[in-house]
Amino acid sequence: AQSVSQHNHHVILSEAASLELGCNYSYGGTVNLFWYVQYPGQHLQLLLKYFSGDPLVKGIKGFEAEFIKSKFSFNLRKPSVQWSDTAEYFCAVTPGQAGTALIFGKGTTLSVSS
């Protein structure tokens, strides 16, 4: 069965520190990859997505992620975090075909102290 693993359950950083959240998936075929963010008390929002093309994708709020096919990874990065980045981050995948549901990782809670 397809699955998504997020390596870090809880990450604590100071403002201006660099961030990298790991995500690995298990699926051998073409995939679509996503990072979603859930700020405290808010809906899940799409941070960035990868369908095809340039494996380095840029999202909102200065986030980026790199798809490394050989490693089945899609790690999320931000060079300098802010207190407002405190949230829960979910990596998700769908197989490369129409109309399938998202398979989510268990999420990583990021706490940024000012």
Partner: protein
Amino acid sequence: GAGVSQSPSNKVTEKGKDVELRCDPISGHTALYWYRQSLGQGLEFLIYFQGNSAPDKSGLPSDRFSAERTGGSVSTLTIQRTQQEDSAVYLCASSRYIDPLIGYNEQFFGPGTRLTVL
């Protein structure tokens, strides 16, 4: 509407009772998904509707769970004979028509319904 809406926002029920959760997708979105977010389990897919096609029910955890989508718009998730392990946040998402050449359209999530089974 501006976004996906769900009601109620919170529901507290007693073990053994039936509950109904409602989702109003974004107007014009033909695909609708239900997910469950619970402690320790993360976000799990439950059921998916796309237009008039038969729904994908592969994520429903038991036959106590069912969902309908009337007129291709509003959806209701029903949980019969609720159990304490059903306590979770139930999320609904919708997306535009999925063009097979594109393969995927972004899913927009609602605020969720927090279900507590006592």
